[in-house]
Every structure is written in structure tokens, then in C-alpha cells.
Amino acid sequence: MITVETYADINQASAALGADSIYLGGGTLVMRALNYGEQNFSRIVRSTDPSLTQITMQGDRIQIGAAVTMASILAHPDLAFLAPVARQVGGPAVRNMASVGGNLFAEHPYGDLAVALLVLDGRVHLADGQEQDLEVFLAQRKGFNGIVASVSIARPNRPEDFRWLKISRTKPKGVSVMSIAAWLPAMAGRLQNPRIALGAMADTPMRAKAVEQTLEGATMDTAGIQNALTAIASQFNPPDDALASSWYRQQVAPIHLRRLLLNEGAGS
């Protein structure tokens, strides 16, 4: 038997969580588990705290409530640079439900938004007041049983410095063969502190730090990115799945990274 507990305050919801419970966000993960009888919980805890759906500008960062949906990202003018990412998460019905917080727990090959949040210096803010680097959080997410209150990201000075590419088998909606996000600030034509992250190339979305190192100070041309293409071929050991083998993903990763960096054939 499942019981549902709804709390108006996120702190109350956080205090109510225990080993027999799970937190319900947008529903696309927890309700799926229920439909398939895969649940290992007897209590569903949820919160209607309004802070969970807020998007606030804080200097050069943006705080996005964990219950903000993909549709809400699409509708928010200050998050226009993230719209291409949100638009490629599911169809319209999924986008009305799938939340920023839930995306952090989506298993391979899902969780495209988290890839973008990674390159934007994502930080996870928990209901108990703790704050964690998103990459650390993703690496440890399996045993997590708290509540993500919000995610904060850096706001690119130049929105065009943020780039996104999702490769899928079907259009316009498809699951990722891989996704690549890049934040590419440059000074005098040379990259400064570039950040690259990939989705569906590991169990969780991951930064491509070896690739980032090769791009530091590089020019954005064929010669300038050559070392990055070599580095990405060896950095990841992606899982096999029904969409693509590990070998295939490794082989095509340099091609798609080149397309993203050189802006060859924008879109998905």
C-alpha cells in the first residue's frame, strides 16, 4: 500500500523523508516506477512550496527551482539560451511535467538538460541547505534520498557562447545517441575557460575535462580544435544500449564535437 503525503513547506517535506519514502517531483520517474511495480517505497512525499517553481536572477547567476518544468524554461525570456535544450526533452506533454530537479536523476541515456547545466557551472541546492557542485552530485546521485530545492547556473555574458547539439535517431523527438553542451567564452579569438559536457556517453552526464584542456587558448578553427577531437575519442567509455553501441558512440563523438565547435550544421 502506498500513502501520499503533501507538504506546503519544502523543509517539512525534507524532514518527512525516510528509507521507506521517495520524493515526487514532476512524476515522470516515480510514477513510471509505480506503473511497472518497481517501487521500493511505501510513502510518496511531495511539496507544493512555491519556491520550487521560481526562477530568479542573482547577479551573474540564475536560480531555477527544482519543480520548474521544461515548458516553463521555454516560456521564460531570461532562459532563452536554454530553450533549444528544453525543446528537445520529450514531446509537449512530457515538457509540461518533466522538471529540472527530476532531470538530474534521469538514467542513461536520458537527462539532456543536466548536460547543459553542467557546462554552465551548475550547483545543486538541497532542501537541507547544503550546496553541491552538479558534477559531484551526479556522480553520487544513486543513493540520494533528499530533496533538490533548486539548481543555480552561470548566465553566459554572450548567449551565443553557449552551444548545444543533440543527436537522436528520430525527429523531432528522440532519445539521445549523445548530447553535447559547450560554453565557449573567448578573448581575442582564443577560448578562455571553455567547458564541454556530454550526455549518454557515461552512466551520468559528464564534463569532458581532457577536451577542455586542449581547447584552452585554442582558436575555433579546424587546426585549433584538432587536439580536442583526438581527446574526446579516448575520454569516454559509454554504455551499450538499444540506440547505439559503446564503439559507435566513441567513433562518432569527434564528428559531432567538430560540428558543434565549428558550427557545422546547426540544430539536432
Partner: protein, 165 residues
């Protein structure tokens, strides 16, 4: 087992059901309210045949916790027609052979209605995007896209059938 009362508006009519803890909206509609139009397909957000409108926006009822729709407005395919008068979308699906086995049709129709409610003159690409979360294994999609475009044209025309539906 204790049940939880949930009240909402279903196709304009005040409705109340009792649900088990953890029940999804699809179960509440089909078993509780007796509306059999939304269907169970994949149960994981892939097929879209359980799509309903919640406060005018498409949602997957099989992934919606029933208790979360308390006080909200639900629309399903059952509410499209007015008496014997089919909605232009339904008529266009019939005229254009946009349904074969019909299992996806309820979700397709609701997804299409959500589009036309906010965009009466959609492009073909916008129609494709609107039904991108709904799978059809029979038609190859083209008759469905054609039918939605035709219904939109009908609804825009002076005196178009079901304009106010």
C-alpha cells in the same frame, strides 16, 4: 485500504472519485470516473496515448499522480464532441483515414486540440511538433498530420464546423 477523495472538473462537469494511494490519473479517469477515452499504452511516457489536458495543457495521465489534480480542469477526447456533433478534429480523422487501429487516436486528438486552442493556424512543422510525443504504429503519421491541418482550416473558415466547441 483507505482511499483518498479527489475532485476535479472533467470535460466541464464536476467530478469526484476515490483513489488508492499512488494511483495515477489515468486509473482515476477510467475506473473512477468511467471515462474510457484515454488509453494505457507504455506506462513510461513514450507513447502518449494517455494524454489529457490539465488546465488546457497536455499531460500524460499515466504519469500524473491522481491526487495532484484536485480542483483542476481535465479534458479528454470524450469531451470533444457536442452531442451528435463531432469536433472538426474528429471529423477530419474520420474523413482522412487518420485512424487505423485507433489506439493512439485519443491521445493524438487531445494533443492536436491543445495545439489548435493556442495556435489556430499551425504550420505543418508545428503540427509535427505538437504530436511528437504521440506514437502511431499504423498510419505512418501523414494522414494524422493532414487531418489536423484540415481541421484547423475548417475551424478557421467562416461558419466552420464546431468552431466554438
Amino acid at each position: 485500504m483507505s482511499k483518498t477523495p479527489v475532485s476535479f472538473t472533467l470535460n466541464g462537469r464536476d467530478t469526484g472519485v476515490f483513489v488508492d494511494g499512488g494511483a495515477n490519473l489515468l486509473d482515476a479517469l477510467r475506473r473512477g470516473a468511467g471515462d474510457l477515452s484515454p488509453k494505457y499504452g507504455c506506462g513510461q511516457g513514450t507513447c502518449g496515448t494517455c494524454t489529457v489536458l490539465i488546465d488546457g495543457e497536455p499531460h500524460l495521465s499515466c504519469l500524473t499522480l491522481a491526487e495532484t489534480v484536485e480542483g483542476r480542469s481535465i479534458s479528454t477526447t470524450s469531451g470533444l464532441q457536442q452531442g451528435a456533433q463531432l469536433h472538426p478534429l474528429q471529423q477530419a480523422f474520420i474523413d482522412g483515414f487518420a485512424a487505423q487501429c485507433g489506439y493512439c487516436s485519443a491521445g493524438m486528438l487531445v494533443a492536436a486540440k491543445a495545439l489548435l486552442d493556442t495556435n489556430p493556424s499551425p504550420s505543418r512543422d508545428e503540427v509535427i511538433e505538437a504530436i511528437s510525443g504521440n506514437l502511431c504504429r499504423c498510419t505512418g503519421y501523414e494522414p494524422i498530420i493532414d487531418a489536423i491541418m484540415e481541421a484547423a482550416a475548417q475551424m478557421r473558415s467562416p461558419g466552420g464546423l464546431g468552431r466554438a466547441v
